[in-house]
Amino acid sequence: METAVFIVCALIVLGGALGVVMSRNPVHAALSLVATLFGIAVLFLNLGAQLLAVVQVIVYTGAIVVLILFVLMLLGVDEDEDLDTEPIVGQRILAVLVGLFFAGAVLAVIVVGKDAAVTGARSATEAISPSVANIVQIGRQLFTTYVFPLELTAGLLTIAVVGAVVLSRRPKDLQPIPEPESMTELGDDPLTTIIEEAAH
């Protein structure tokens, strides 16, 4: 059962990821991203991380993707992008090679190392307990072992909010580009003669 869920979700996740990278329309890319994030939420459930699965749906698909779509619609950049021309010659080949190299290297480590690929002390902070609720354990660790990083994230979020306000504020001196001045007023001869004057 777990394997079946994994296979289905893995296909959804990979299909959505390819959709994000390859779709011409940014709106389609955002919707593919939703599919990927939902697949990952189900995979979290499969791994026993119930709280993270819920937070994934609420924060990622509920807030982040909606924010991205909102900006997309606000800016009106939802037209198709030209993906056929390659602005820098050989860029795509090189990018795909880099990606294949990275994936191949990590997969090689996993295939060769098997379980030994994951090193480290077991249950260093707190073992996952089947009897205690997931959220209880995470909350306890957040407010004991990880309390200092938790305080830092509060600062990070404040800085991000202030930064967003500062960045998206409309500057006072922003002028639209003015119309070019009329050539005749600058003393040049008009390029077209007015028909009524020519008739006289």
Binding site: E2, F6, Y60, L67, G99, A124, Y146, G163, L167
Partner: protein
């Protein structure tokens, strides 16, 4: 032979990370580039949760929380930059933005 599921999770997130990275390198629309960064962050999150399960430690899931906070902050700042940029140059893509000023 029963499949080793945690290793399959690690393989899946490696592939997902690579797809996101390739997208980040190839695409020129800044919004799509942000989505590719989200893909990479999610691949890392999946790796963290899998490591937490393999090592029987709740910390893997706690760290994912911090990654999500960083991702949210990154999206907020990135979108603000995109809005500020599009106000000045509506059709600009990532290649046009070589200077850090309008």
């Amino acid at each position: 032979m029963s499949p080793n599921l945690p290793l399959a999770y690690l393989a899946l997130s490696a592939i997902l990370f690579a797809i996101g990275g390739v997208g980040l390198l190839v695409r020129r629309n800044p919004l799509v580039m942000i989505m590719c960064v989200e893909l990479m962050l999610n691949a890392v999150n999946l790796t963290f949760v899998t490591f937490g399960k393999m090592l029987d430690d709740i910390s893997g899931q706690v760290i994912v929380f911090f990654v999500m906070v960083v991702a949210a902050a990154e999206v907020v700042i990135g979108l603000a930059l995109i809005v500020a940029m599009a106000r000045r140059r509506p059709d600009a893509n990532a290649d046009d933005l070589r200077l850090l000023r309008g």
